[in-house]
């Protein structure tokens, strides 16, 4: 990461690097990120390299380059917080209101102007482009993204993560960890268009083994849909349905489905590879 610092310009568009560059690891991340560290520690974060840029009278821009350990993990951290339009920088990126988020290979980059303005916005994008040039080649998506049926899949709404802190920030499900999620589980959360206008939601969880998947399904249904039938199907609100089914070490949960049949078809169309 020290090399990275040397390859990123210290003066960009009238903004100058301010203070010392710093590097934090999994143990020291709390010193830098108050309230957000756990979200990153739920992934395979290795290090974060940080630099501040300043311009007189225009505030400060924070540049953070996260080595997420693998391209899949970098995909994950970007995917859990997609609210802005694409920025066209790096392998994938979003930009809005002074916050640029990029993934490139195993790196996730955040460039943020605390005080959003035209000048700082331009500088944020310029810094982002300069950083990407230093980060190396693109990398693959998580394999589970490829399991999803494409029909009616909402673009840019698919998230990949491991732990319940990520799930609850993406879609609050419960106050307790009713699915038994942790760093050993892999999760995909996706949205599908329906005729009602409200998306059906698909949560796909891969556990280390079938026993944990079975226990998680039991726990989920007990807490979230105690009235479910043996198939794992239950009505929820406004004629919506929830379904939880197992396939070996995978648990598939469909939420907000407009009908039982839609829930069954969505779950059945997930292309989980044979063992």
């Amino acid at each position: 990461m020290d090399e990275l610092g040397r390859s990123i310009p210290k003066a960009i568009g009238g903004w100058q690097a301010a203070g010392e560059d710093r590097i934090y690891d999994r143990k020291t991340l709390y010193d830098y990120m108050d309230g957000g560290a756990e979200v990153y520690l739920a992934f395979d974060l290795r290090q974060v390299w940080t630099r501040k840029y300043a311009s007189p009278g225009k505030g400060e821009i924070a540049l953070d380059v996260f080595d997420m350990g693998s391209p899949e993990e970098a995909y994950g951290i970007l995917s859990c917080d997609r609210q802005d339009p694409p920025a066209g920088i790096g392998q994938d990126s979003t930009y809005g209101f002074g916050l640029l988020r990029i993934r490139q290979g195993r790196y996730f980059v955040s460039v943020m102007a605390a005080d959003e303005g035209e000048s700082s916005g331009r500088a944020v994008l310029e810094i982002g482009r300069a950083v990407v040039r230093a980060l190396g080649p693109p990398g693959p998506e998580p394999d589970m993204v490829g399991f999803l049926p494409r029909e009616a899949l909402r673009p840019d709404r698919t998230s990949y993560f491991h732990a319940d802190v990520s799930l609850n920030n993406r879609h609050f499900l419960a106050s307790e960890n009713i699915l038994g999620l942790d760093r050993t589980t892999d999760c995909i959360f996706a949205e599908y268009d329906t005729d009602s206008g409200q998306p059906a939601l698909l949560l796909l969880v891969r556990y280390p083994g079938a026993e944990r998947a079975t226990a998680a399904r039991r726990s989920f249904l007990s807490a979230y849909a105690p009235e479910s039938d043996p198939e794992g199907l239950a009505p929820t609100k406004n004629n919506a349905w929830v379904l939880a089914v197992l396939r070996d070490r995978y648990l598939l949960v469909v939420l907000e489905s407009p009908s039982p049949d839609r829930a069954r078809r969505l779950a059945a169309s997930v292309a989980i590879p044979a063992k």
Binding site: Y30, D34, G35, G36, D81, V165, E176, N177, I178, Y224
Partner: protein, 292 residues
């Protein structure tokens, strides 16, 4: 595991585990035996650039504390909280994007001095309170910080502000910071907190990115939420946060994930009340868009 609150419960409106029953019930019932929380607002405390008018802020603090302790004079009101000769620590918050305003720190300090506390016996600290001699020796604490959301704990309020007193703050992170209330039972803190001030001048109701901050999720509410009970103060703060989230983000995102530590500070650690029916909320000043 206790029965978890699920999204379904929340959408059905059974959020009493987080919020108690309706706030209206809490206001209409007799005030006896209730925990008083004062919400004071002033239209002109911030200018168009969100700069603070110190005199107005001082007046808001004075108004809140006098009402809190049923005293007409602000110096006498602070005199009910601290005594001359004490060492007092002001636990502030230095989070760079939304710190405790210096003007609020100054207003608190001024009244402590007025009440007879020697200036060199007043500590002001955040990150090093656990080892700061003025906090180690303190016989009274004032807890002052801004209201904001948090990825992990749902909300950062007066309860969470004391995490830096813990020997290992990270050890309090599991399960959405469920046991933050335990910090108030540590010897360095126990029974010392005289006043909790949740600064809602520019609260933050949502967060984005690694630093959980964006100016678009901060609004000029121009208020202070003040009480002797940190749990009751945070309960009102959470209610305000949820009201703003509902207004801006929609009902599905009303609840920031997952502010369970506020309820557990009451039910598990017994350091205050999160039952809205046991809180007497006194509203003073500007009431436009008050939300709670």
């Amino acid at each position: 595991m206790t029965h978890p609150l699920t999204r379904r419960d929340f959408l059905k409106g059974t959020t009493v585990v987080f919020l108690g029953a309706s706030l209206g019930a809490g206001q209409d019932a007799p005030a006896a035996k209730k925990t008083r929380v004062v919400l004071v607002r002033h239209r002109d405390v911030l200018d168009d650039n969100s700069a603070i008018h110190p005199d107005i802020l001082q007046g808001m603090l004075d108004e809140a504390v006098t009402r809190l302790v049923d005293e007409s004079d602000p110096v006498k009101a602070f005199g009910k909280l601290v005594k001359p000769g004490e060492t007092v620590g002001i636990k502030t918050n230095v989070w760079p994007y939304l710190p405790t305003p210096h003007d609020l720190e100054a207003a608190i300090k001024r009244r402590l001095i007025d009440a007879g506390i020697a200036e060199d016996r007043i500590g002001l600290d955040d990150r090093t309170v656990a080892t700061n001699p003025l906090f180690v020796q303190a016989t009274s604490l004032i807890n002052a910080r801004p209201l904001r959301t948090n990825y992990l704990a749902g909300m950062s309020g007066c309860i969470k502000n004391y995490i830096m007193f813990a020997p290992s703050p990270e050890a309090l992170h599991p399960d959405s910071c469920a046991d933050l209330g335990s910090v108030f039972k540590l010897p360095i803190v126990k029974d010392k907190t005289r006043l909790n001030i949740l600064c809602a001048l520019t609260p933050q109701f949502h967060g984005r990115g690694p630093h959980h901050f964006s100016r678009r999720f901060v609004w000029s509410y121009k208020g202070l939420i003040v009480g002797r009970d940190p749990v009751a103060v945070d309960t009102i703060g959470l209610r305000l946060t949820m009201a703003k989230r509902r207004e801006v983000l929609g009902p599905d995102q009303e609840l920031p994930p997952v502010p369970k530590h506020i309820r557990l500070a009451d039910t598990r650690h017994g350091i205050g009340t999160s039952d809205i029916n046991a809180i007497e909320l006194v509203k003073l000043g500007w009431d436009e868009d008050i939300l709670v």
